[in-house]
Symmetry: C2
Subunit: 393 residues, 2 copies
């Protein structure tokens, strides 16, 4: 064992490479596969001499791999759309991780992921600019009765400019993801480092918290029926769940903790919230119920889980357009043009209703991207420059 | 898709549990398996209706799982030794991750891991004490010509006591691991939070860096022969590698970066280095070559990749016991009592040579633990209280 590690003692071993295919940046060190060519095709390779079938599931139909004489399975996809994608290898019917890939928490597990580069786009690249730190911070929540982990981006000058206070963006992940998502899959810190260096965004703190929370001691209740889903068969025991307490966790626990721990400017003119998908729905719910707390709202690919009524929903925040507009609250609504129909339609309908009602907002469509992280990187890149530039009243 | 996420919108779904088996703390949220009973047996479960065989590899011989009528494979291990273990599921001969487990970078990939609790031991538990942050920091190294990631633990009062400066412990991972290891598998931040709260360790910064580094522009050379390995067959192309530049990366790049970025006390009396396995060998090499830089040395399960000669090795640091002892340098040597023979013997021999030569040091054996993370958590728990308590001259 010791001998086997000798040549790895801090040096670097490596293998073949080709001019056309390059290992994905999301690979573990030394892994040559998966690898990507200039046409954005991805080649996979895994040794599985005893398997009957191996395929790759990377969104869309799975791509079968072909077995070679040495028991190694290989295959190449069609060109893949740019951006970050979760994926699995399917070995004899079981979806598993690719050992060549780092894992990223999504789809409710630590999943393989691959980032297909965008030629000529560098707003989420690591460049020679000052970089902020991303801090892992733990706090005890009296709301949930548990220790909770939160990641906090502090801007590049936070540690040197120690008398300065900063505005805060709360930035939420989607369903099946967690508080690691925005800094890993979302490259939030790189996007802000670059925007701040260019003078396009104000230095700000970003708080990336977990979007799952239940109240201490809460008991399970029957889950609400899912819209559009068939009723369960008679006699089926009800599906149980503990209701979400994310709103209370945010307002009574997380925000006071952040304001007490970091050098924030604790008022609505300097506090924003945004999220993606489930986190976007949470953002819409929490911010509109607390317009005295948040001056900036970012809804990335998610408005509501039910049909929207602008007059009565969202705590009535949009019931009177004039009143909302006078508040100076910045509302950003984004969606990818190739998201699934219901999402695309839902966000577009909401935008149209806002227009019809005269509610000021910024609407952004990410061209050619789906319900995936590149849509949300672009949203953040569009949204962050709008933040804390005007005084939300 | 949206409907399917409704009941997960920040609430909590859950399933069955038993009085005896509890889900591992290393599981992803909601995963009931793997689960552990009071006898430290572990039960695994995975759905794989088309697989021919499923087993668990958790150190020692793999444990076969048994297929049920519903295509689900289950099985329970014999009692497992306490502490953290990497493991794999073996599905039709391929080692893959368990989707129920979080992943931990080790064995050269993001691997499943399980923590078997120690009854009555809480020095690495999350307790109601002040917690430091663990920061992800990136810096550009002129030595390697690349951006490098480092994790930096800042003690609980770092952000409030802004005029204070702190001593620094550099803490290195092992082969096939990376800079995430000590805070995730090693619980380094929890160990220090608890020691600091009890007044048993001084508040300190811990720097957890990547132990792989090669010089910018370095060309591959034939790898050295591995001791104890048979010579390659005639005609075999030489195994190539790029030599390690970890020493230069530490002294010319990492340490100056840390001292310029964080509020350190930049002298040998306030600078320690420790590591495990490969990181321990690196620690021995780097500290002894730079005794003007480091006043404290922690060798956890690793001394050298070759037979030790105390008179000539380690830059001669131990050639003159009197001189070393007078320097006030604290040397800590640790090993687990069930580590593989060669490691156990090597560390014990080194300890004996130090005793025979009269070189002052602290020797610690972790009872009943192998070449695994619990040995190294215990080492850190023993080593940290020794740090920065005396003035290394």
């Amino acid at each position: 064992m010791l001998a086997a590690t000798l040549s790895l003692a801090g040096g670097s071993c490596f293998g073949q490479s080709t001019d056309t295919f390059q290992p994905a940046t999301t690979n573990v060190p030394g892994a040559e596969y998966p690898r990507i060519d200039a046409q954005r095709r991805v080649e996979f390779k895994i040794k599985a001499p005893d398997a009957k079938s191996v395929a790759v599931s990377l969104g869309g139909p799975s791509v079968p791999l072909t077995k070679g004489d040495d028991g190694t399975w290989t295959g190449t996809t069609e060109p893949i759309v740019v951006g970050f994608h979760y994926y699995s290898l399917i070995i004899d019917g079981v979806a598993v991780n690719d050992p060549g890939s780092h894992t990223f928490y999504g789809t409710g597990k630590d999943s393989s992921g691959i980032d297909i580069p965008e030629v000529g786009v560098d707003y989420y690249s690591r460049k020679n600019v000052p970089h902020g730190d991303v801090r892992e911070h733990w706090y005890f929540s009296k709301v949930t009765g548990t220790w909770r982990r939160v990641f906090v981006y502090t801007p590049p000058d936070y540690d040197t400019n120690t008398s300065a206070r900063y505005p805060v963006l709360y930035l939420q992940h989607g369903s099946g993801e967690d508080e690691t998502g925005w800094s890993r899959q979302g490259d939030a810190s790189l996007i802000l480092d670059n925007l701040i260096a260019e003078g396009k965004a104000k230095p700000m703190i970003i708080v990336m918290a977990n979007g799952y929370a239940t109240k201490a001691g809460a008991k399970p209740v029957p889950a609400p029926a899912m819209p559009g889903m068939p009723a369960p068969a008679p006699g089926t025991p009800p599906r149980m769940m503990i209701p979400s307490a994310v709103d209370e966790e945010f307002t009574a626990s997380l925000i006071p903790t952040i304001d007490a721990t970091y050098r924030t400017i604790p008022n609505r003119a300097n506090r924003a919230m945004a999220g993606l998908s489930m986190g976007s729905v949470q953002t819409m719910q929490i911010t509109t119920a607390h317009l005295d707390t948040f001056g900036y709202i970012g809804a990335f690919s998610g408005i509501s889980f039910t049909t929207v009524n602008l007059k009565t929903d969202f705590s009535g925040a949009f019931a009177d357009a004039d009143s909302f507009n006078k508040s100076g609250t910045v509302l950003f609504v984004g969606v990818g043009t190739t998201e699934f129909d219901r999402m695309l339609q839902g966000v577009h309908d909401f935008h149209k209703e806002l227009v019809d009602a005269g509610v000021k907002h910024v609407y952004y469509e990410s061209p050619g991207t789906a319900h995936e992280w590149l849509t949300w990187r672009r949203d953040l890149h569009e949204f962050a420059p709008l933040l804390f530039q005007q005084a939300a009243k």
